[in-house]
């Protein structure tokens, strides 16, 4: 028995520690969460999931998360693609521009939050300070501290932090493009817009799909920056699903309900990923 195992599965001892560790620290917690979410005071219960659809605060947090994701993703994608094309077309100094443009996404999220605190503070921030020195009245510009503009303000932070990520992946994609189809199209007299639309975009599709997928997964679970910048406030204006789950689990200690919410978020992300791959017709 052990002999055959050793002969036909020689790699098992090499992989076993990894598998055991991941079973203990990823899969067991996952199963545990499923179980807790399906447990009520009297055993098995769907109450936690039934509560989801009636919890108006949760639904608001969900709607805001989806809005945040959609708006941030759209802006970051367009800007990232434009930047990738722009920097790719430069002659000298490409490396320098690239390095500088990538900096924001590398920072610890907590540092990003600190930076934008320094910028957004209505009284002392550099943003209103600059506007005031241009003699613009800033008394209505409260950025993250006013209910009206808070969500847009945290989205702007996300755009600043993560456009570099789209830029990075898309420029890597551009650089890996095969040379021949581009050259052939140019030889045939295609304009640069035609080359872009008919040759570059289709070839870039797998990279674009990957970039959108990865970014969406992260946007749907956004936590750090909002937690530090606004704590979900003012009021409930920037509450997201992850923040609401955090509060439910670690302020109100309702683990079952928190788990149910996290699975709804995960489910939505998976549905989105599948439909994106179908639309883009990319396998894996």
């Amino acid at each position: 028995m052990i002999q055959t195992l050793r002969r036909s599965w020689p790699g098992v001892p090499w992989v076993a520690p990894t598998v055991v560790l991941l079973l203990a620290l990823s899969i067991y917690p996952l199963v545990f969460s499923v179980k807790v979410s399906l447990t009520g005071p009297a055993g098995f219960s769907l109450a936690n999931y039934a509560r989801l659809v009636q919890d108006r605060l949760f639904l608001q947090a969900l709607a805001q998360t989806l809005l945040y994701t959609a708006v941030a993703l759209a802006i970051e994608f367009v800007l990232g693609l434009a930047l990738a094309l722009l920097i790719d077309s430069l002659g000298r100094g490409r490396a320098l521009f690239r390095a500088g443009l990538l900096a924001p996404m590398l920072l610890p999220p907590v540092v990003v939050a600190v930076i934008w605190r320094l910028i957004y503070n209505p009284q002392f921030g550099v943003l209103n300070g600059t506007l005031r020195s241009l003699s613009i009245n800033t008394s209505a510009l409260t950025w993250t501290s006013g209910e009206g503009g808070a969500l847009a303000s945290v989205i702007l932070v996300d755009v600043w932090e993560w456009t570099p990520f789209l830029f990075l992946l898309l420029s890597a994609g551009l650089q890996a493009l095969p040379y021949e189809p581009l050259e052939a199209a140019r030889m045939d007299g295609a304009s640069s817009w035609q080359v872009f639309r008919d040759v570059v975009l289709p070839l870039l599709k797998p990279v674009m799909t990957l970039a959108i997928l990865l970014r969406t997964m992260d946007l749907m679970r956004i936590f750090d920056q909002i937690f530090i910048l606004t704590q979900g406030g003012p009021g409930f204006a920037t509450e997201t699903v992850s923040l609401y789950i955090y509060r439910t689990a670690f302020r109100f200690f309702n683990f079952g309900y928190a788990a149910a919410m996290s699975f709804l978020g995960l489910g939505l992300t998976i549905v989105f990923a599948k439909s994106l791959m179908r639309v883009m017709r990319v396998s894996k």
Binding site: T18, L21, L101, G129, W160, M217, Q231
Partner: protein, 273 residues
């Protein structure tokens, strides 16, 4: 588009990316009266090291800096010790049918789980084991968190190394482990270094796990210590910025070292926690 115009746009983008970071640095070295000057002082001010001295002399921030260093390095070493052999085993040893692929994808898929899904059970597990508010607990969690990434990255790097190298070593009587350590790893060194850098950055930047699993001043990491200083109303801007700069510099240095591999690493979810 005219080439000069292109450079103008590129410069604008570069300014937008870098100016906020530069502003953080200036606040960290400005005297209090200069911090909120209108119009804002971008270049001409009297620099001071006071905020750095102040923020790290109270001990707590210095301790969390040490905690971050300790947790990030140890969890990286552990993830490599466990993950590199797994990557090698999946890539080089015989597997029935497509099991090597199946296991590889399963390992990677665990990295896609949002932390918020697993954090409650991990919290309860660590509490049960008496490892809540301890660096060891966080090290274990980060090791598991980085493990899929290590396996996936290293598998890619091993694939690029010709098999003949280690086969020759094994013909000469080396064991497989010996061949891995003495022949394959030295060749894979650049990839290994990039993997190390990414693991360090992930552990260094991570916030949510640290926030929940290490809540005491003695055990917490730098991001959580900084966040706890960012209170709504009374902020010591200089000290907070100085701490931010200290948290930022190692990451930028490390990322610069691994720049060649940034796209590959980032697309596997490195850097963000």
């Amino acid at each position: 588009m005219k080439s000069a115009l292109r450079y103008v746009f590129a410069l604008l983008a570069l300014t937008a990316a870098v100016a906020p970071i530069y502003w953080l640095v200036t606040i960290s070295i400005k005297r209090d009266i200069d911090q909120f000057a209108v119009p804002p002082l971008w270049f001409h001010f009297q620099p001071t090291a006071r905020h750095y001295v102040e923020s790290f002399s109270d001990g707590n921030l210095a301790r969390s800096l040490w905690n971050s260093t300790f947790v990030a390095s140890l969890s990286t070493v552990l993830a490599l010790l466990v993950g590199v052999p797994a990557a090698y085993g999946l890539e080089r040893l015989r597997w029935p049918r497509d099991w090597s692929q199946k296991i590889g994808f399963w390992i990677l898929s665990t990295r896609m789980l949002p932390p918020i899904v697993t954090i409650v059970p991990l919290f309860l597990m660590l509490r049960g084991a008496g490892l809540l508010n301890s660096r060891l607990g966080l090290i274990i969690v980060y090791t598991a968190f980085n493990l899929p990434f290590v396996v996936w990255m290293m598998q890619g790097f091993f694939r690029e190394i010709p098999r003949e190298l280690e086969e020759a070593a094994m013909m000469d009587g080396d064991s497989r482990i010996g061949a891995l350590v003495r022949v394959v790893l030295p060749v894979a060194k650049p990839g290994l270094a990039a993997t190390v850098v990414f693991c360090l950055i992930v552990a260094w930047n991570e916030f949510l796990f640290a926030l929940i699993l290490t809540q005491t001043a003695a055990s917490t990491t730098l991001p959580v210590a900084i966040a706890s200083r960012v209170t709504q109303y009374e902020i010591k801007w200089g000290a907070m910025s100085a701490a931010g700069v200290v948290a930022m510099v190692p990451v930028l240095v490390f990322a610069g070292l691994a720049q060649r591999y940034l796209a590959r690493g980032m697309s596997l979810g490195a850097v963000k926690g």
